[in-house]
Amino acid sequence: MKFIHHKYTTPTCLLIFISFLLSENINGQINGSLFMLPNNFYAQMYNPAYMRTDKAIEISFAGLSGFSFMNQGNFKISDLVTTPNGSPVIDPVHFYENISQNSHIRQDISVPLAFFSFPLKKGVFNAYYKENISSALKFKKDLIDFLVNGNAEREYRNFSTDALNLISTGYREFAVGYTIKMNKKLDAGAYAKLLFGAAFLEADNWNFHIETSANGSLINLMADGDGYMMIPLPVTLRTDSTILRIDTKDVFSKYIKSYQNPGFAIDLGLNYRINSKNSFSASVRDLGMILYNTDAMTLYEYERYDYIGFDLVSAVRFNEEPGYEHPLYLIDLLKDSIRNVWHPKAVKSGFTSALATKTILHYQHKYSEKLSFGVTNQSTFQKNNFQNILTLTAMQSWPYFSVFENLNLHGASNVCVGGGFQYEGDFFQAFLATDNIIAFYHPANNKTFSVTAGICILLNHKTEKDIYDNNKGIKNRKGKISPELPYYKKLRELHQ
């Protein structure tokens, strides 16, 4: 398969297709501590029941609205890239020695390009437009076996990648939602989302095998697996249905303009105030699917080729006897035969892909005016895959500013410490949250890293101080209190 590169689009191609290299299930999650802040505009996107307690209008757009990025795996970049002499080198042997039997790496980028929220009747109307790119790769240690051991030694003559799973997707979502105050204790909300799939690649249980005969004179090459692909680029197929080339000209422009594969999803949420100090919230996100019909292909691969080297018989006899093929033709045939084992066949046909459903459960306790504690559990379900992040948060709050620290458990084995802050002034809100603060200065030595950041403009915003003053109904006294008694007290004295 060849990619036809164009000078100005190479970085963009890399951005998109690097995501295709990495994948199993899709996160689409933000730092759990942000659910401590119902007025945070990212928390509002991820739990439709979250809304502001004042009447402010929230507006954010590309450039301000920030992003959410998550990298999560069960190995570190430093397992693969080491610096033995100060220079970074890829070290497959070190990688092989440090990974577990089942490995995975997931990456997820969400970029809200527009967000809008305003009070409407008893609730709040929300709308947003968000770009999502997600990727996950699941592989077994066997995949690295060949790189480390080769096939020359007798004990390593046979090799199999075992099940290799990859899913990468890029899609955009246009959401409208409404959050309503059901009663004093309960808020509920929902988003209806129109989705447009822009790119998709799925490889299901791909297996690549090599079997070498005892004296090395025969190598059986085998591959099997199936999957789906949709990319908004011209794909040229060979006559045998393998992919000849993909023209990546104007890839970014084509990606952004890809609106031919629609989908639909809903998000549901609720926020329940148990009492003045305790609250509980839950949401279910991405109940829906995308229908890929345009530029969609089904991939399959069940090939085998017995490689015995180049055919000397034809090379010797071609000039002498009829019935033998030209050696050049045979060389091409040999190359094609080997290539065909590894290259999947593609058939243009539509397919449907369900989104990875996510659940968020959050409980928080207000210990004092300044200190709150919370626990958040975020789960992702996709096919037979399950991913869980548990976040324990302590948050300190002041009228304009909140700081939080968190402890995150990715699955059962990976623990990291993170934190963040949110500043909310009269006219804007800004926040940054991460689940692994160490990763800021040592990213390659961490299995997990996430960062979410954004800025939102606030209109008609009343600060905490204003609210406090309005509730009292009076302004602070500035002068001295008059020593004179009110007139009715004097009247009482007269009656006596």
Partner: protein
């Protein structure tokens, strides 16, 4: 105003923390700086040439005598009948069998890629059913420059005094020296020369079968390393 200073204090601490963290980065590198570890290589074994094709044809005695698309040279000495079948035969000088012949003059052979090879040995596996020991010589051609020959010792012939006549399997491993490896790695074309060693069998027979099978496989064992 106090609140303003409070907020700025938090921001100041936060920004300071970021600077400290950034200055402490120990594993910062650019993607373009990454290379593959110098001593990393994959030791592989792979066939490169086979004397059997997938249609069931095998290399035979006649194939290693002469390039029959060219005229038979008029060599001095006795002649012998090379019997193809019941009706077909060729009369050739006996010496032709024992003179080096260019069997394959220039066959496209490309092994280059984004990798380099080291510690390469070529393993010749030959099952010879001919009455004469076989010599095979490989040379690799790059820009019309002929590389040093790769010439294993002769592959033993079958013993025609014992019945049934059984092919004799000989395995010869030839580690390539630096010149041979360079030629092998950067070559674009291959030349194969072959000849047989003379023995008494030639004097005892006037006719030889053209179809004595010779099973030839050439396997490469070597370490593949990336160039970048």
């Amino acid at each position: 105003m106090n609140q303003f200073f409070n907020i700025n204090r938090y921001f100041f601490v936060f920004i300071l923390a970021i600077f400290i963290f950034q200055s402490c980065k120990t594993d910062e590198f650019k993607l373009s700086e990454i290379t593959v570890k110098e001593d990393f290589g994959i030791k592989i074994i792979t066939p490169i040439f086979s004397g059997n094709d997938k249609s069931g044809h095998n290399i035979e005695f006649r194939d290693f005598i002469h390039d029959w698309s060219k005229p038979i040279p008029d060599l001095p000495g006795d002649k012998i009948v090379l019997d193809y079948s019941n009706t077909e035969y060729k009369i050739i000088p006996k010496q032709l069998i024992f003179e080096p012949s260019l069997i394959i003059d220039s066959l496209e052979f490309l092994i280059q890629g984004n990798y380099s090879l080291k510690d390469v040995e070529l393993v010749f596996i030959v099952a010879n059913s001919c009455p004469f020991p076989l010599n095979l010589q490989l040379q690799f051609i790059n820009h019309n420059v002929l590389g040093p020959p790769v010439l294993p010792p002769a592959f033993s012939g079958a013993d025609f005094n014992q019945l049934p006549i059984m092919p004799v399997k000989t395995i010869r491993s030839v580690p390539l020296d630096s010149m041979q490896l360079q030629s092998f790695t950067f070559s674009k074309r291959l030349r194969l020369t072959s000849w047989f060693n003379q023995n008494n069998f030639i004097n005892q027979n006037d006719t030889l079968s053209a179809h004595y099978p010779i099973d030839v496989t050439i396997v490469m064992i070597g370490t593949v390393q990336t160039r970048k």
